[in-house]
Amino acid sequence: MIDLFYILIFPGFLFLSIFGLGAEFLDRKFHARLQNRIGPPWFQPLADFIKLSAKEEIVPDEANPSMFRMMPILAITATVTAFFYIPLWSAKPLLSFSGDLIVILYLLTIPTLTFFLGGWYSTSLYSRIGAVRALTQLFAYEVPLLMSIMAPALLANTWSLSEMAVFYSIHPILCLSNVLGFTISLISLLGKLEKVPFDIPEAETEIVGGTFTEYSSKLLAIFRLGIDIEAIVGASLLAAVFIPFGLNLPPILGFLLFVVKVLAIICTLTVLRTIFARLRIDQMVSFCWKILAPLAFLQIFIALFLKGIILR
């Protein structure tokens, strides 16, 4: 019974949906203010969700209906599952074992794969080009993201988020050595969430809506909610790995601090997506491999250096 509460209400589906929609509102409003617009009212993401859900559901004739319908649900399930492994207000998350960091990263890759499969199975040309772009992009940002998150874990000598949190609360000064990794993973997260300058898979002026061209109604609404939740989970992961402070506070205060950390990361992503133009896919791939990946290597070397020389 209590498990069902965890999964459906808190910190599961319902809480994540509300938090995700709230974060989407913050993102849109802040984006609008930066662009000198007024921006939407606070309930706009929820209103969009309800309105989309009420629309007629259209599945293309040539699409594989079961795959087409399954993908949004798979995307949202994977992101919600990943959230259970992230510590919220204490060092201990809901679920935890010695390799949970890898599992979170794995679960966060699934939405991108569902974008690919969903786009591929909808058989539209625009969707297929978008799908191939999504996968190409995955191979570009995933490696720097993994490496930059690996570095703090190497330093803490563990693959578990809770043990990492304990390690960094003993040595808080060592967090400063991970600033480079934090920057790299923020940029990679933009790629994961398909936001400008990496919104190449759904570039509307080139390929209409990319992967989501054929999606409509509830399926699109679920996909969009899935992306909102993915943003929350990604931001919480970065918060847990790179800014693991205040984990010994009382639950309510600790939880508020967690929310503030996540929203701060979301706002940083918003600023980044406001000030750049969209890159081309070849520019994006060469940027990730030629600049981000070597920098991530540098971060790993810094971690190894500190571990080998100073912490001995």
Binding site: L34, Q35, N36, R37, L125, Y126, R128, I129, V196, P197, D199, I200, A203, E204, T205, E206, I207, V208, T274, I275, F276, A277, R278, L279, R280, I281, D282, Q283
Partner: protein, 407 residues
């Protein structure tokens, strides 16, 4: 790799008007590009022949939604040349003033569209916000934001008061400052430069060969501008530079347009400060003597050309419009050679296309048949009668009765 043909248009988020492009892709690379014009043919030239010259001024104004003043001025100039009207100087100055204000609003609009095409929506929001300044000025001077209706044969319909002149000068200062900021963005923002530089290259030779006009040609080093080469209105009396650039790509076209904005501010200041006194229009008889004339005008998108043939009545016998986009559209295929799909929207947008103004003719291609036949007016007439007869609407009996009654 497997080749796919994807349709861009007639309905596509990158295009603001219906136009069909078909792109053959190999992966992300463009192998073949073809454009099909004619989705927005409105028969304006024919309609001009059915209306009086005064009515035609308003009709030609509606050829284009952005360079409306360009088309009406071009038409009016041709008619005035046939009728040998001496237009008052103040009227010419006001025409130039509106023309340059129009250039400012068109180029700011283009900057926003270009930003949107490369996914830089912040630039779109900023430049369109500042475009409102010039739109307000135009609304104040003429009463309208786009179709100004200020031209008339023999002059202009509204005068510019000293208070209005003051407001224009003030607005120019604001806009000049903002434009400097945009030039700074265009020359310093890395992702924007990466998306614009080296994209849509059109060499000087190709620009001349394909007959490119306006900023598209000037960004390829073609030093050509009707305002200087064949001055009309008050352009002979103002000092300005013709902006050219040797980048040959979309980046160069951006710089040319931004440079033209700065020139436009200086032209407007000179116009306001040197505007002569006097009447703003002379009376022209309704019937224009027989004759023909070609008029050229440097619209924001390039050289606009109108041909008018008069036959001594109050209606023209023939009006022919060559909008600047028609001259530029051929260059797009050249610019897209060996480029990527991601470059397609910005390359098309970089010529600042205005497809509705370009559509002069509709060719009917029958399904399954290769041959293309052009339909003449009589063919269209008989085709429409046939079409309605097939759909159960027949006026033949009524027409016969009408003919009898008239007898």
């Amino acid at each position: 790799m497997h080749k796919v043909v994807i349709p861009i248009g007639p309905q596509h988020p990158a295009l603001k008007e219906p136009e069909s492009f078909s792109v053959t892709l190999s992966g992300e690379k463009i192998m073949k590009f073809s454009a099909k014009l004619g989705y927005n043919h409105r028969g304006i030239e024919k309609a001009c022949e059915e209306r009086t010259y005064t009515q035609d001024v308003y009709l030609t104004e509606r050829i284009c939604g952005i360079c409306s003043h360009s088309h009406s001025t071009c038409f009016v100039q041709a008619v005035e040349e046939i009728a040998a009207v001496a237009v008052p100087k103040r009227a010419l100055y006001i025409r130039t003033l509106i023309g340059e204000l129009e250039r400012i609003h068109s180029h700011l609009l283009w900057l926003g569209v270009a930003g949107h095409e490369v996914g830089f929506d912040t630039l779109l929001m900023y430049s369109w916000r500042d475009r409102e300044v010039v739109m307000d000025i135009l609304a104040m001077l003429t009463g309208n934001r786009v179709n100004y209706g200020i031209n008339t044969i023999g002059g202009v319909r509204r005068d510019v008061s000293p208070e209005q002149a003051k407001q224009i000068l003030k607005a120019m200062d604001t806009l000049e400052e903002r434009t400097k900021y945009y030039i700074q963005i265009a020359t310093e923002e890395t992702t924007l430069i990466q998306r614009l530089s080296g994209v849509g290259v059109l060499s000087n030779k190709d620009a001349l060969k394909l007959g490119a006009v306006g900023p598209t040609a000037r960004a390829s080093g073609v030093d050509r501008d009707v305002r200087r080469d064949d001055p009309y209105a008050a352009y002979a009396e103002v000092k300005f530079k013709v902006i050219t650039d040797n980048h040959n790509d979309v980046y160069g076209r951006t710089l040319v347009r931004m440079g033209e904005l700065m020139e436009a501010y200086s032209i407007i200041r000179q116009i306001i400060n040197n505007m002569p006194d006097g009447p703003v229009a002379v009376k022209v008889p309704r019937k224009i003597p027989a004759g023909e004339a070609v008029s050229r005008y440097e619209a924001p998108r390039g050289e606009d050309l109108h041909y008018v043939k008069a036959n001594g009545t109050e209606k023209p016998e023939r009006v022919k419009v060559r909008a600047p986009t028609l001259a530029n559209i051929q260059t797009v295929a050249k610019m897209l050679e060996d480029r990527q799909l991601a470059d397609l929207p910005i390359v098309i947008a970089a010529i600042d296309p205005c497809f509705s103004c370009t559509d002069r003719l509709t060719g009917v291609r029958q399904q399954g048949k290769r041959s293309k036949n052009v339909m003449r007016w009589e063919d269209l007439h008989s085709y429409s009668i046939k079409y309605y007869q097939e759909h159960g609407i027949d006026f033949t009996d009524l027409n016969k009765k009408l003919a009898k009654l008239l007898k």
